[in-house]
């Protein structure tokens, strides 16, 4: 048996430290989310009221069903707001530590930039930039490996979707120059 054994060890040198200070507690985030949902419920409820949330000759008006749903959502988030304000135990738990937040931002910001790039440069160029950039700067992987991986993956996606399966992706100036 042992001759087929392969040891797999993966290290994570940039792992978030365990003793990093908390940025926000669960209670605070809970309250903020509840407030946001309450605001959403009021906005949507008002819009549905305007559309018509009563009954007419043919039955309920278009706004009827969603209007009462916004009432339920508003009620539940109001309750959530109070629950977050009065529960001590859960509220003090850490939502995210500074080290964790740094790692989350390290992936979230590139993702936002990727979406922006997709809008202007097309999806394939954007994905090449995202993968190579992320591997190089966040993962600290060698330049040639990053570029090669990004190129192979992007090319594979292009062949799979645009050519083999006819699922057309947004394109930019580079594809236009190449004639696609």
């Amino acid at each position: 048996m042992s001759n087929t054994d392969i040891e797999i060890v993966v290290d994570d040198p940039t792992a978030p430290e365990a003793n990093s200070p908390a940025v926000a507690s669960n209670g605070v985030v809970d309250a903020v989310v509840s407030l946001g949902l309450l605001a959403l419920a009021v906005t949507l409820g008002w819009d549905n009221w305007r559309t018509g949330a009563a009954w007419d000759a043919t039955g309920p008006e278009p706004g009827y069903f969603p209007f009462y749903l916004s009432v339920i959502l508003g009620g539940a988030s109001l309750y959530g707001l109070f629950a977050a304000a009065f529960s001590r135990r859960e509220a003090s738990e850490t939502f995210v530590t500074r080290a964790q937040l740094r790692r989350v931002i390290a992936v979230f910001v590139p993702t936002v930039l990727f979406c922006l790039a997709t809008q202007f440069l097309g999806l394939y160029v954007a994905s090449f930039l995202l993968i190579s950039g992320f591997m190089r700067f966040v993962g600290k992987i060698a330049v040639w490996k990053s570029l090669l991986t990004a190129f192979i993956f992007t090319a594979a996606m292009f062949v799979t979707f645009d050519i083999a399966f006819d699922v057309i992706m947004p394109k930019g100036p580079l594809e236009a120059a190449l004639g696609y």
């Binding site: 054994d5 993966v10 290290d11 969603p66 999806l123 996606m157 057309i168």
Partner: protein, 503 residues
């Protein structure tokens, strides 16, 4: 026995080289997705869904369900070898699976896990084969009030039986139902909740939301964790497989019990996690030497894996028969059905026989092929974990974006996906469950239509939901389930008061 004939026909539909090839591709992709950190069943299916848009529905569903099986099998690999449960329902597998791997019995544990998943799914598929046609032919008699009552039952059972804080389940569900209503109203054609935006006119697409909620948010969550791991990838030799299989009949009670629990909990929404823990705990309680559990006992792998897979599979039963998904993944498959232009619900069994029986047959075949595939290729897949997450993460982001864009060819959807990614990340961290949201979003329009049609039919009289025995009992059951925690509490306080009186 009509079901049997139709099932054979289903096999005949499947046994072409093209379908078998798709099956293999689906399984490999699924195992891949299941092994990767931060991805699992629902995410995998959601991300890979766009690949199937241009296929015919039968090939598409075969591939998707194979991705799902593959992901389930893949989850077991990481739980046993690295003590990393890919999904919440694999947690119970790590209790005994990982100790076994540390003792050098990884091959045995893996074989046990794969075999028991196979058995669990097989039992559930058998149940689907014989029960689904019956339920759907019964449901053909349903009118709008009955359908609304069934939807209500689904929603209420989530609130009443879910383990999360009740107001959070209600929040997530009503938000899902509301977002489902954005865009053109299907009955009157009027616009709702669009605030003059042309992009919102199309409505919020279910699959876009799912890709964001499960794909993007999972990446963000995974980044928070320490991603180091250490373990041995053991190859499985035929001798070990046969050895485990030889012992299998000894554990028939455990296997049977777990399959039963799994099937039962799978049909009620959100059951796979509960099923795996319950399977494990019951196996432990009925064992003669409870001490040996948690120290690498093979039964501790059999019990949760059988239950989890039985429940994951039987979650497809209500989806096929009634158009109501029993789990998050089933909801995504349901979303897929709609993309391919099929209307989920009891009529599926009448109008699209080929499709339904092809799907059921693919569950049998996919399981067999999957079992063979994982047993032979474990070391290869385990070494996927060596690929650094810094390379995997951006690829997943790109795949998510491709998926979100492909659904409606809209750039706006990529932004929407990003938004849902953040929402999913925050919701998961503060304990707002995502499954009710998913379910509400996919069922919202149909629940509303059913409600309005029954209201129009009855002239606005709510009594229509109690107008006959069937709809009345479903509605009443729904309301009982909604208030179940209160009823349960009242019940136990009454019995507590009675007991001292007796003594």
């Amino acid at each position: 026995m009509e079901a049997f004939g139709l099932l054979l026909h289903g096999f005949a539909v499947l046994l072409t080289w093209k379908t078998l090839l798709l099956m293999m591709v689906g399984l490999v992709l699924g195992i891949f997705v299941g092994v990767l950190p931060g991805l699992g069943g629902p995410n995998g299916v959601a991300i890979l869904l766009p690949l199937t848009f241009t296929m015919d529905p039968t090939s598409a569903i075969v591939m998707l369900s194979c991705i799902y099986w593959g992901a389930l099998f893949g989850g077991a690999i990481t739980s046993i070898l690295f003590n990393i449960p890919g999904e919440a329902w694999s947690v119970a597998t790590t209790f005994d699976g990982y100790p076994m791997a540390q003792q050098g019995r990884a091959a045995e544990a893996l074989t046990a896990a794969f075999t028991s998943s196979f058995i669990g799914s097989l039992v559930a598929v058998l149940l689907i084969t014989f029960l689904a046609p019956m339920i759907s032919s019964f449901a053909l008699k349903f009118g709008p009030p009955e359908f609304f009552a069934v939807y209500l039952l689904t929603f209420c059972s989530f609130v009443g039986l879910g383990r999360e804080a009740k107001h959070k389940t209600v929040t997530s569900m009503s938000l899902g139902l509301l977002l489902a209503g954005v865009g053109m109203d299907t009955v009157s054609g009027q616009l709702r909740m669009t605030f003059g935006s042309a992009e919102l006119l199309r409505g919020i697409n279910f699959l876009v939301a799912v890709i964001g909620l499960f794909g993007i948010s999972e990446i963000l969550l995974t980044m928070e964790e320490r991603l180091a791991l250490r373990g041995h990838a053991a190859g499985i030799s035929l001798r070990v497989v046969l050895l485990v299989w030889k012992d299998l009949p000894k554990y028939w009670v455990t296997l049977f019990r777990s399959s039963f629990i799994g099937c039962w909990l799978g049909i009620t929404p959100g059951g796979a996690i509960a099923a795996s823990f319950m399977g494990y705990n019951l196996a432990k309680r009925f064992a003669k030497d409870q001490e040996s559990f948690g120290k690498g006992r093979i039964e501790g792998v059999f019990a949760p894996e059988t239950a989890a897979h039985a429940s994951g599979t039987s979650a497809l039963l209500p989806m096929l028969a009634l158009g109501i998904p029993g789990s998050g993944t089933a909801a995504i498959l349901l979303g897929g059905l709609m993309v391919w232009g099929l209307n989920p619900g009891p009529l599926l069994f009448v109008e699209h026989k080929d499709f339904v029986w092809g799907l059921i047959a693919s569950m049998y075949l996919g399981n067999v092929v999957g079992l063979v595939l994982v047993l032979t290729t474990v070391p290869i897949f385990a070494s996927i974990l060596r690929v650094p997450f810094a390379a995997v993460a951006p690829m997943i982001v790109v795949s998510c974006a491709i998926g979100a864009y492909a659904i409606q060819n809209a750039m706006f959807d990529i932004w929407l996906m990003l938004g849902f990614g953040v929402v999913g990340y925050v919701f998961k961290k503060i304990g707002i469950p995502l499954a009710p949201f998913t379910l509400a979003l996919v069922l919202g329009n149909r629940a509303e239509d059913a409600f309005r049609l029954s209201m129009i039919g009855s002239g606005g009289d709510m009594k229509v939901f109690w107008s006959n025995g069937l709809v009345g009992s479903i509605t009443t059951l729904a309301i009982i389930l909604l208030f179940w925690p209160l009823i349960d509490k009242a019940f136990s306080s009454v019995t507590r008061r009675l007991r001292p009186a007796k003594a």
